[in-house]
């Protein structure tokens, strides 16, 4: 299971990174959002994987590590705030500039 998990996280990360390297703001924002999913999985798994061990006292005998879960919760909320901001910033940028290209115009890269 651990192998499967880490491969999945890796693939998800790679896909997100690919999106982050795109030239338009929207895919980049989506890439960052997806990266945050991957990172949350990663951070969560630093407490190692446990099945049937929700850290709710009295329900189980063995508990999953609650600390990374709490960290991921914080990270999710912060990620939400950041996603919201960047999405709307992308809209604003498009509103101001007229395009959603992330690169500066009249630079060599914009055509690429």
């Amino acid at each position: 299971m651990e192998t499967l998990f880490s491969v999945t996280v890796g693939v998800l990360t790679a896909c997100s990174v690919f999106l982050i390297l795109r030239g338009r703001s929207f895919p980049v924002v989506v890439g960052i959002t997806m990266l945050s999913y991957a990172v949350n999985l990663f951070l969560f798994s630093t407490g190692r994987l446990t099945i049937d061990g929700a850290p709710i006292l009295g329900t189980n005998t063995e508990y999953a590590d609650p600390l990374p879960q709490a960290l991921v919760l914080t990270a999710i909320v912060i990620g939400f705030a950041m996603t919201a901001y960047s999405v709307i910033l992308a809209v604003r940028t498009r509103g101001e500039i007229g395009t959603d290209e992330v690169n500066e115009q009249d630079s060599g890269e914009s055509s690429r």
């Binding site: 049937d52 929700a54 709710i56 329900t59």
Partner: protein, 89 residues
């Protein structure tokens, strides 16, 4: 026996999700995809319920309820997008 049945159900639901996903990927039209996505939500919800039965726990109830609620909201949002482009007007 019950264990076997639950395992079979797990497999059936999983296969359902795969088929939904296939439809989601294939389309061919946006309503198809949205419908498929909605179904993925519902089948996932079922998986969680099943997991609750399997582990004999109530822990997943809220998560399942939320999937039902939020699956609906997201489907409506997508549908509204197709109809009007703007969700909130």
């Amino acid at each position: 026996m019950l264990t076997t049945v639950i395992h079979i159900a797990f497999v059936l639901f999983s296969l359902s999700i795969i088929m939904n996903f296939w439809r989601l990927a294939k389309g061919p039209h946006l309503p198809d995809r949205i419908l498929a996505l909605d179904t993925v939500y519902i089948n996932s919800l079922a998986l969680l319920l099943l997991l609750g039965i399997y582990q004999n726990t109530q822990t997943y109830f809220e998560a399942a309820l939320l999937i039902a609620m939020f699956g609906f909201v997201s489907t409506i949002a997508a549908g509204k997008f197709l109809l009007r482009g703007d969700l909130i007007e």
